[in-house]
């Protein structure tokens, strides 16, 4: 237990771990859905503190990682056009499209701007009425409501030069796809706390029942994750499969009703491709017809762009929990944060980046040296 003294409450951490060790009698595989949870787990060595019988599998919960190459290529095409101001969150800058990224587009003269909030992009549109301002709208259920509100505001305020390239994804259909895979090993889920802060937990009981899998809503702090694991393991040992909220301080059962109402108004559910995984039915949102005027894909006619993903990147397997990052041949050699093959390495929330950053390199010595991060 080499890391435990670093915890905010080491005594509570010990008690949780003791309880988990005392409860577990058989091997169990749990998936943490959120990339933030993955980072917390690896940073604090939680997976090493848990009994050998409890395996944590890293899920697809990093929006940057799962955004399809095709959508990145559409963004690069739009950002390269004269007269366009392309606004994005900072963590999309280095996500590789085909041959380049937004960082390079800016270097080539494209007007790419980083914003903290989608409302910042709307303000840029108001200040530049003679330019086309496009916001790159990606993310899960936590990011979708701010983006929905921004499109709603653009329509309400009559800002014609603002549009959004939308590629939002939804967690429950991803859980369904993971559980439906013949190679699935996941027996329980630690659901993403902040997604549930917005959406509540109403979508999960049906999944828990159908796949007979416990789903425990979990936060991001080490103690939150240990508590999530403790509750999931306890259910598994008892043969139960219910939805349990272990992050009640931030998650109400109904989520945030105002945000959910706005999502329903601005977006409609659609099939969505996930990078490295492929199309998952009903797993995304697109702008509803009412907001078509603000749809960048339509406005810039980039709907026809089709891109094949490179075969050498195995991030799809990592995202589905079929492969640990360091088990990939390219990890730390061909693929590093400086030269990423895929988004799980370039995104700071990606599982590959977490393994790289925290030197979780169960690798041969030579390979581990090459993979040591530049800090």
């Amino acid at each position: 237990m080499k890391y435990i003294d670093e915890f905010q409450d080491p005594e509570l951490a010990r008690r949780l771990l003791d309880d988990i060790h005392a409860t577990v009698t058989r091997p169990w595989a749990l998936m943490e859905v959120c990339g933030g949870q993955t980072h917390s787990i690896i940073r604090h060595g939680l997976d090493q503190l848990l009994p050998d019988k409890v395996e944590l599998i890293h899920g697809p919960g990093c929006p940057v990682c799962v955004t399809p190459l095709e959508v990145i290529d559409k963004a690069l095409e739009i950002a390269s056009r004269p007269g366009v101001i392309f606004c994005s969150f900072g963590d999309m800058l280095r996500v590789p499209g085909t041959g380049r990224d937004l960082f390079q587009v800016r270097g080539e003269g494209g007007d790419v701007r980083v914003v903290y909030s989608p409302l910042d992009a709307l303000r840029i549109a108001q200040q530049n009425p003679d330019r086309e301002v496009v916001f790159f709208g990606i993310g899960f259920e936590t990011t979708a409501p701010p983006n929905a509100m921004t499109v709603h505001q653009a329509r309400k305020l009559g800002i014609p030069n603002f549009s959004m390239l939308v590629s939002h994804v939804r967690v429950p259909p991803a859980i369904e796809a993971i559980m439906s895979s013949p190679s699935c090993r996941v027996q329980g889920f630690l659901a993403a706390g902040h997604v549930c802060s917005v959406m509540g937990v109403e979508e999960y009981p049906e999944l828990a029942e159908r796949f007979r899998v416990p789903i425990v809503v979990t936060g991001f702090e080490p103690l939150d994750i240990l508590e999530g694991v403790r509750r999931a393991v306890r259910q598994l040992e008892r043969g139960e499969h219910t939805v349990d909220n272990a992050y009640a301080r931030a998650v109400r059962p109904e989520g945030n009703p105002a945000a959910r109402a706005m999502l329903e108004d601005v977006f409609e559910v659609t099939d969505r491709a996930w990078r490295g995984i492929g199309v998952i039915p009903d797993s995304g949102w697109r702008l509803s017809p009412k907001y078509r005027d603000h749809d960048a894909e339509h406005r810039f006619s980039v709907g026809g762009i089709r891109t094949e993903e490179p075969a050498q990147c195995r991030s799809g397997e990592v995202l589905q929990g079929l492969l640990k990052p360091h088990e990939c041949e390219a990890f730390g050699t061909l693929c590093t944060p400086r030269t990423p093959l895929g988004a799980t390495m370039v995104s700071s929330e990606g599982a590959c980046a977490a393994y790289y950053l925290y030197r979780r390199l169960d690798l041969p010595a030579g390979k581990a040296r090459e993979a040591s991060p530049v800090v």
Binding site: H39, F89, G90, G139, F220, A258, M262, R338
Partner: protein
């Protein structure tokens, strides 16, 4: 971008018919939209994501989470200079320097 960060409301005002707040995230101050948490008040804490308050949080939880995120470097990712970070990751000098050459 994925993680929502807890912050404390410093003041609130109505701007163009939209309820907006100034929020302190452990020393970094940003403007935040309160349309999804309209009854949030000055001094309260909330989970904020990309400029929108999404859910209330008690002070102790907020403080602990902020400390964790600071430790993980996530506050720097959320509020730091994205171009500088991208340049470092790419192993190149910042774009502005290239343009000035």
């Amino acid at each position: 971008m994925c993680l929502a960060v807890p912050g404390r409301v410093l003041d609130i005002e109505d701007r163009d018919g939209t309820r907006m707040a100034t929020v302190d995230f452990g020393g970094v101050v940003k403007e935040v939209c309160l349309e999804y948490l309209p009854d949030l008040e000055v001094g309260e804490y909330a989970i904020v994501h990309v400029g929108f308050a999404l859910q209330r949080l008690d002070e102790e939880s907020a403080r602990q989470t902020l400390e964790l995120f600071a430790e993980l470097g996530m506050l720097q990712e959320e509020f730091g200079d994205a171009w500088e970070m991208a340049a470092q990751e790419a192993g190149t000098v910042p774009v502005e320097e290239v343009r000035n050459q």
